[in-house]
Symmetry: C2
Subunit: 408 residues, 2 copies
């Protein structure tokens, strides 16, 4: 049985430092834990969550009732709710992470140096990770699973509206960890909705190695501004598809359609279409027709509007906007150089695509576009940890000092 010591939540800095201290100790045990033990813990957590399902639903009901009383909108309430099928999905997620290969301890680049010394690199855990997220209880389990598999201790701070659900999940997670013989403090959920807890999490340099904010732009900007610990963040995905003057037209149309319309609300959806002037007359009309047919609104430059009457006016603001909606901006550019300049000016460094059959154009695009993912003749929707073979992901970092995809 887990020994539960009721934390003193009146002194938030002391409480948070206590979590930090415990996480640091747990992180040392986790770093040394072998794959089998970590997987046993993941499976045990899956089991304890299933066993605690009715308690979990009860706790979630409390959050939902409070949320309704508080007047949360339908979208927020939807994300807050834990239905049986969502709990099943969380459990499935744990099993999937257990099936991923263990990144810890992998050694690469082992080679003898002229001095006779043998040198290589070993992948190691980060240590203690703080995750700050909105009121989505499923993130609690997803994040805990990824941190555990990668040998990191984690302190989780979800949105205040989900606190009962998160604490109920924490109880199951803790029980699972103990069943597998790992420290219960490997995964800790902050038990207070006090905002001071976030301020502490962002500044405890002694205990926290990195903070990952997961949520909307305003959350991420707040975290970045206040953090005194390193932050790995996933910001905008203002992704571009550039159709080069030497593009294969069929590929161009298929890639643009897939990138824009496969899913609208995701960070790797295309938000802006750049088309080389010399081919615009040929490519844009059929492409615009296909997009309009799918219900996508087009907002373009003057040249594009001369080619397709249905294209609305794009303002300066449109070029920098991540719509996350069935809207796309369209600009006719002189060619490769102007496309690269446009992406440097308005892009967000997430994913940018060139469609071309010209080797040198492709090479220049790959070298000169400074984004997390730069693609040739592929849909931006491929920018994804699973698709890249990197395992599960929390988000795609657009920082310069980073892991491009924070994988299993």
């Amino acid at each position: 049985m887990a020994t539960v010591i009721k934390p003193d939540l009146s002194d938030v800095p002391a409480y948070m430092a206590g979590l930090g201290h415990c996480a640091r100790s747990a992180s040392r045990v986790l770093a040394a834990a072998d794959t089998a033990q970590k997987n046993r813990a993941l499976l045990a957590i899956a089991e304890t969550i299933k066993q605690g399902q009715s308690d979990l639903r009860g706790a979630n009901d409390k959050d939902m009732a409070a949320g309704r009383e508080k007047g949360l909108d339908a979208a927020l309430l939807d994300r807050l709710e834990l239905t049986d099928s969502r709990i099943d999905a969380m459990v499935d997620g744990l099993l999937q992470v257990a099936n991923l290969s263990d990144p810890v301890g992998a050694i690469t680049d082992m080679a003898y140096r002229p001095s006779g010394v043998q040198v290589g690199k070993m992948r190691v855990p980060l240590g203690v990770i703080g995750i700050i997220y909105e009121s989505r209880p499923n993130v609690t389990v997803d994040a805990a699973a990824l941190c555990l598999k990668s040998g990191n201790a984690v302190i989780l701070r979800g949105g205040s509206e989900s606190i009962h659900s998160n604490l109920a999940l924490a109880k199951s997670i803790t029980a699972g960890l103990e069943l597998a013989g790992l420290p219960a403090t490997s995964v800790q959920v902050v038990a207070t909705a006090d905002r001071e807890a976030v301020a502490q999490l962002l500044t405890m340099r002694e205990w926290i190695d990195v903070v990952i904010p997961r949520g909307g732009k305003s959350l991420i900007e707040r975290v970045t501004a206040d953090a005194r610990v390193p932050v790995i963040k996933h910001l905008d995905g203002n992704c571009h598809i550039y159709i080069d003057d030497q593009a294969d037209f069929d590929k161009a149309i298929a890639i643009a359609i897939n990138s824009k319309t496969h899913r609208y609300g995701v960070c790797n959806a295309a938000e802006s279409l750049l088309i080389a002037n010399s081919v615009a007359e040929k490519v844009l009309p059929p492409l615009a027709e296909a997009l309009l047919e799918k219900g996508v609104e087009l907002r373009g430059c003057d040249s594009s509007r001369q080619l397709v009457a249905e294209i609305g006016i794009a303002t300066e603001q449109d070029w920098g906007t991540e719509y996350l909606a069935p809207i796309i901006s369209v600009k006719v550019v002189k060619g490769l150089d102007q496309a690269i300049d446009h992406i440097a000016t308005y892009g967000s460094g997430h994913t940018d695509v060139i469609v071309t059959e010209n080797w040198s154009h492709a090479q220049r695009f790959l070298r000169q576009v400074d984004s997390s993912s730069v693609m040739v003749n592929a849909s931006s929707r491929f920018a994804d940890g699973y698709e890249y073979g990197l395992g599960a992901e929390i988000g795609i970092s657009t920082d310069r000092i980073h892991v491009g995809v924070l994988s299993d």
Copy 2:
């Protein structure tokens, strides 16, 4: 001829934002520059520094005179001085960096995914780097060379005592860049000693991708506390040599002596010796004798002092101290576990060494010691960018989110 626009230094924030803006533009050109062009620039800078040697000496004389007037101590004045041989060394450094391989554009892990998409990783520049350092003019050239080779624009802010030397060097660097057809603003030296310039450099998130402080602990701590941009820092090197109960004694003594006495003032020198209890009686007396003979002061725990009378008393503070001097702390430990615990408690995450013939002990040490370099049967002095085959280095990062060695 370079066009020199006299900067307006009265409005420091505007001046720094101007440097940032220019650096960002230059960084895009540098990222696309090929190896030959970058090397031409490095060689041209070497040439312009040689040609400007007398002006450079004149500027340095001004700094030296001001420094003497200000009452700088001998060590600071020594680091400030640019002798002819030091200028030669800077020029040599440029040629060496030109000879290093170009890290930019290197592609690894290229593989086809089940979807049919081919995915790999490309090394790219960081963008704009800010470097803050003490009054050592040679760092101006070393840092500029490494940033240039790695395709990054750089803003250099040296100590105020070296401002004339740094500006003279900047003039030569700029001339060399222009000769090679690269933007003069690829390397910019902050032309004011106003401290507000540092505050700006540390907070201009729009223009600066990463700041690297290079200098003593107080500089690095100040930078870390104030920075709102990512920092790659090189902090303490409190390096340990653990002599395991299954160590080869000859190796143990040779490694300990080399690690401690090869050079005292460097970050990868050993500062603490841990010895397994069961072999202490055999290893410590001859090792202590050898260290004492070299003039090294030993400060130890009670057990060590019972074995060697000349060992002084180590206080709690000694275990956490990076002496950078002919002093070493000595602790007799029960065995591997206590050694690992001690390193976790007192170490600085730089370089730690186990001397052992036991495979499992070596593996556990490699896995459980969380330092930038973890070594088996090698001197800590091997922790070095050149020795690792990573090229020239600015420093060894002990951060968790990092490049272990910031190489060419």
